[in-house]
């Protein structure tokens, strides 16, 4: 089975995020880069499915040359191949991103190397657009489902579970299919020292994607700002055992009771 996991390079940030002077972007000068936890799980799921059913995992990103770092990390986590849709580093809107990914996937299947399972993180850590996976599925006319916390492949069918209150909805998709997963679907492995070294030697396929800015564009960032009452200390529910009733109220509100 051929699996594809799509990831996006994003800054690794803390609770508060430093902004550039024009407030339209993140000041990344002292930050490292990563992918969203959902996407780490997508890579892990792609690798696990291949481990279970054979085949190979390809990891793909659309981004600048430096995004090879994220591809190598995925390869160090046992992905087999890496594809970079190389851009100048400017932000592509979700529709353009989806079109470029779909074009790359289409080109692969024309080469006879199509994918059976296309995995995405539920949303990117930075833009949180919640739509690239669905748009890719639409472009490729593939079945899709998002927000998946459990995935089994049985006889060419993906059995996917989405958490709902008190249980889960089960979806069945014939492969090939697009699945967007959520953190918690698995525990992503850590790269080993050996695989980290080997990943550095892994050739990366570079594709120059075509940018289609027209369709689906129209959401333009004016500026970013930190929310007014950011985080802060915990709400103190009380001192000692006397706090128990309030704890129960809070747990009830959370829906964990």
């Amino acid at each position: 089975m051929e699996t594809l996991a799509c990831v996006k390079r994003v800054p690794d940030t803390g609770a508060s995020i430093p902004l550039t002077d024009d407030e339209r972007g993140i000041d990344t000068s002292t930050l490292g880069f990563t992918v969203s936890p959902h996407e780490e799980c997508a890579v892990e799921e792609a690798v696990q499915q291949v481990e279970a059913h054979g085949g190979a995992t390809t990891v793909l990103t659309l981004g600048p040359e430096v995004a090879t770092e994220q591809l190598q990390t995925a390869v160090a986590r046992e992905a087999d191949k890496a594809v970079l849709l190389e851009t100048d580093g400017s932000e592509w809107h979700p529709a353009a991103t989806a079109k470029a990914i779909a074009a790359a996937v289409r080109a692969k299947s024309e080469d006879g190397a199509g994918f059976d399972l296309l995995l995405f993180g539920n949303e990117a850590a930075d833009t949180e657009d919640h739509q690239v996976a669905v748009r890719v599925a639409h472009e490729l006319d593939l079945p899709y489902v998002t927000a998946i916390k459990e995935l089994d492949i049985e006889n060419g069918t993906a059995v996917a579970r989405r958490e709902v209150s008190g249980g889960s909805e089960v979806y069945e998709l014939d492969l090939p299919a697009v699945v967007a997963v959520k953190e918690g679907i698995n525990s992503p492995r850590y790269p080993s020292m050996r695989s980290r070294m080997q990943a550095k030697k892994q050739p990366i396929e570079r594709i120059e994607p075509e940018r289609s800015d027209g369709d689906g564009g129209g959401l333009e960032t004016i500026r970013l700002e930190a929310p007014a009452a950011g985080g802060g200390e915990a709400e103190i529910l009380g001192e000692g055992p006397a706090a128990a009733p309030r704890v129960v109220d809070v747990l009830d509100d959370m829906g964990v009771l």
Binding site: T13, A15, F33, E69, R189, S192, M193, R194, R196
Partner: protein
């Protein structure tokens, strides 16, 4: 430890609640400070500084005595708090050069009284079964090594401090400003309020420069990256319990370590290219995904380390289930010379530094800084860590970065004791520098000053004095590194004819004012109420009669004195003098260091040379020894002091810096007739000094030994009061627990083979090969070593207990795993060469 209201005043404020700040606060409470505010901008127990990401292992044996003893004291404290696990530690060698270094490690272990032994490859494997034995040649085992828990220790220290004193802990409190008035610290302004205090400690780790700058003072350190990863879960460790199950391994050749932690293996490295940070670029606690001091690993820089670790421990690191679970560019503090920055800032009274300290020595530094603050002195000699040692030359950001960059590459490295810094040079040069350079001077650096160690232009002396030099040629590369036999040629030439020695790098300051005599008396052991023009060489003591310094004080007028001290300790000495200036302003301290250059003219023909160019009478009668006066040499007005550190007839000539070049040329031309030669610090600092038995601060002279033990009691006990008088008087009366002796090496190759020459810091052993401890538990070691060509011996100095302090006593010295027979030549300060000082007095 309740989260009290932010106090409006406190007796002492400690800024920073990492392991250092906690330790300072705890020891201050122990010593009686009653009202302490400990604050940090981060949360507890891990406020986000370097303490939070340290690998926490402790390897006690360092080549520095000071650091070894501080680490031993720290281990004792960690153990007392139940935060130390004794796992032992092993340094492994992959190369022959490193094996030799491990022999030197054993030598240091013996010298500093810490267990340690060499291991064969098989013995290493017994301790660490997962090591790849093909890669290594052997190891050094330190049974006292282990791991500590500094965050937990911090909690214990805070709890103990709270039990002893009124301790207010204010976490999540950011310092906004330090208020200074009339050169004294007054208050700490924070985002939770302002706290008045006359005593503030900056223990803020990598942020210390930022905090100190709020008071207008500088802490010369830079944040630097130490790469660290943690790999797990490793199945091999599943069968073991607890924090650490096997000894820590240091892979010295690759400058890495591997340390088990639970079922992980922490792999740390210092081999990557130095990555230095600006303190302004460090993320805030909120901005940091991990913590401000744990930015993400720069992977490309770690690749070689990755490979090296896999080579050494493949069995563990190739565990199929193990992954890199944690990886950081851990930020820690690096200083221009790798040592901490501790003590009072000389420009702001009441403001103290305790920074650039590693986990392994932090509890001890906290203790000794607290002693220093409360009792006026630390119980252990901290001269190597004095915050003032870079004062006025080495605090610029550029200098700190350059030296940190260079020094980073020495961490875990094999560093020769005489190794010279290469960066930010030349920094301080005098009027002679150009002339010296033309003569092929090999410059060494001290306190930023360029000082010629020897001159290649004197190579012809090797032939001329071949007979005296040949027995002391050093065939082994290590012994001869940063050394030249030309030094011996220069020495012999000076003794026979005449030498000119430029740029000793002195720190010079004048004490001026109506209270000068009274003040000088208080500071010095020697009598200061002497004739104008008289020079007095004197110890400077602390209250406990421990050495602060030894230096010369010349009475230059009715109400003025000139203090001349070594450049390396100049900053600390000046701070000590400033600290004790009379509060009524009756004495001013005027620094002359940068205004004057110094040229020594020494040797049998020194007077002939000076006479020919001086306007004044410089005869023995007109210009007696140990006096000073103004003279004119050629066109240059100079202040001449008839003194010699090399035991010869002659003068130190102090001239205005801009006339230095002219002075040099005048003496050089006048001396041509007598074959005057430029002579370097190799003679001044070692060969000449050793033959004369002159003690050197930081080597023979330190707080651990008294003047009596050092043999510097020739002043007796003067009438006037002085600092340390009482203890000094007692020490003179007591029988010395140890006495400083001069020894000679009897055989440089007792087992045949290459002749070896000790360089200092080697353990002195009994004839049976046992270490020697005196009644106060102090171990005997070589404090200085150097060849004395005029006495025909390689000379050593060292303190010996009475049992062995007998002239003619046979002993041994261990050097690179070999033992060499030595003989005690002199007990006390009598010179080996010209014992009656006839040359100086002629």
């Amino acid at each position: 430890m309740s989260p009290d209201e932010f106090p409006s005043s406190a007796e002492t404020v400690v800024v920073g609640a990492g392991i250092v700040g906690n330790s300072v606060a705890y020891h201050l409470a122990e010593l009686g400070r009653e009202d302490i505010l400990l604050l940090d901008k981060g949360p507890l127990p891990d406020p986000g500084g370097s303490t939070g990401h340290a690998s926490n292992f402790i390897m006690p044996v360092d080549h520095s005595k000071e650091m070894t003893h501080l680490t031993q004291e720290s281990v004792r404290q960690y153990a007392d708090m139940d935060t130390f696990t004794n796992s032992g530690g092993i340094e492994v060698a992959r190369s022959d050069a490193q094996m030799a270094e491990l022999e030197r490690r054993v030598q240091s272990a013996t010298a500093w009284d810490e267990p340690g032994e060499l291991l064969t490859v098989e013995e290493v494997e017994e301790f660490v079964p997962y090591i790849e034995t093909d890669v290594i040649k052997g190891g050094f085992y330190s049974p006292g090594g282990g791991v500590c828990d500094p965050l937990r220790a911090g909690e214990v220290m805070r709890a103990r401090a709270d039990a002893e004193a009124d301790l207010t802990i204010s976490a999540n409190t950011e310092v906004l400003d330090l208020h200074v008035e009339s050169g004294e610290i007054r208050a700490v302004e924070t985002d939770r309020g302002t706290c008045r205090s006359d005593e503030v400690v900056v223990a803020a780790g990598i942020w210390s420069p930022k905090i100190a700058s709020m008071a207008g003072v500088e802490v010369p350190l830079t944040p630097a990256v130490h790469q660290l990863i943690s790999v797990g879960p490793i199945e091999y460790f599943e069968g073991f319990e607890g924090e650490i199950s096997h000894p820590v391994v240091r892979d010295m050749d690759t400058r890495m370590y591997e340390r088990p932690s639970g079922n992980d293996l922490e792999v740390g490295s210092y081999q990557h290219r130095p990555i230095l940070w600006d303190v302004e670029d460090i993320m805030s606690i909120d901005e940091a995904p991990l913590s401000p001091t744990q930015p993400p690993l720069t992977q490309e820089a770690f690749m070689k380390s990755n490979e090296d670790a896999l080579e050494l421990m493949p069995e563990l690191l190739d565990d199929p289930d193990a992954g890199i679970r944690y990886e950081i560019d851990g930020l820690l503090s690096v200083t221009p010379d790798g040592m901490p920055l501790v003590g009072p800032f000389q420009d702001v009274d009441g403001l103290w530094s305790c920074a650039a300290i590693w986990i392994k020595e932090a509890p001890a530094f906290g203790k000794h800084l607290a002693e220093w603050m409360v009792e006026g002195r630390p119980e252990t000699d901290l001269h190597g860590a004095n915050v003032n040692r870079f004062y006025e030359y080495g605090t610029s950001r550029e200098f700190v970065k350059n030296r940190a960059h260079e020094g980073y590459q020495k961490i875990y490295g094999i560093v020769h004791p005489a190794e010279q810094w290469q960066s930010s040079r030349p920094l301080r040069t005098t009027g002679f520098h150009h002339q010296q350079e033309e003569l092929g001077a090999r410059f060494f650096e001290a306190a930023g000053w360029e000082r010629a160690q020897w001159f290649e232009s004197n190579e012809d002396l090797l032939d001329r004095y071949a007979e005296g030099i040949e027995p002391f040629e050093r065939p082994h590369e290590w012994d001869s590194r940063w050394w030249s036999p030309i030094v011996l040629g220069e020495h012999l030439h000076m003794r026979e004819k005449v030498a000119m020695v430029g740029d000793m790098g002195f720190t010079v300051f004048d004490l001026v004012g109506p209270g000068a005599t009274e003040y000088a008396e208080k500071m010095a052991v020697g009598r200061m109420d002497v004739d104008v023009g008289k020079s007095v060489y004197t110890p400077i003591l602390d209250e406990n009669a421990g050495f602060r310094s030894d230096l010369s004080i010349v009475r230059t007028g009715e109400n003025s004195y000139r203090v001349i001290t070594g450049g390396g300790m100049g900053g600390a000495d000046k701070q000590w003098f400033k600290q004790h200036l009379p509060v009524d302003g009756s004495v001013q301290l005027v620094d002359q260091t940068s205004a004057l250059c110094t040229l020594g003219v020494w040797g049998p023909d020194a007077r002939n040379v000076l006479e020919s160019v001086a306007e004044e009478d410089v005869s023995h009668e007109a210009f007696p020894p140990y006096t000073a006066r103004e003279i004119t040499v050629g066109e240059v007005d100079a202040w001449a002091l008839r003194i010699s550190y090399v035991g010869e007839r002659g003068w130190e000539l102090y001239a205005p810096m801009e006339k230095g070049g002219r002075l040099w040329n005048t003496i050089e031309e006048a001396g041509a007739e007598y074959d005057i030669r430029p002579v370097g610090m190799g003679v001044y600092g070692t060969t000449g000094r050793m033959e004369k038995g002159y003690r050197l601060y930081g080597h023979e002279l330190e707080l651990d030994y008294t003047p009596a033990e050092a043999g510097l009691t020739f002043h007796g006990v003067k009438e006037a009061d002085f600092i340390g008088k009482e203890a000094y008087a007692e020490a003179i009366e007591e029988e010395n627990a140890a006495t400083l002796c001069t020894l000679s090496v009897d055989d440089h190759a007792p087992e045949g083979g290459e002749r070896r020459f000790m360089l200092g810091n080697e353990p002195i052993l009994t004839p049976a090969g046992e270490p020697i401890d005196d009644a106060k538990g102090r171990r005997s070691y070589v404090t200085s070593a150097g060849t004395g060509p005029s006495v025909g011996a390689h000379l050593l100095m060292g303190y010996l207990p009475p049992k062995y302090a007998e002239e003619g006593q046979q002993l041994q010295v261990e050097y690179f795993g070999q033992r060499y027979p030595v003989t005690v030549e002199i007990v006390g300060s009598r010179p080996a060469f010209d014992p009656e000082n006839e040359r100086i007095r002629s």
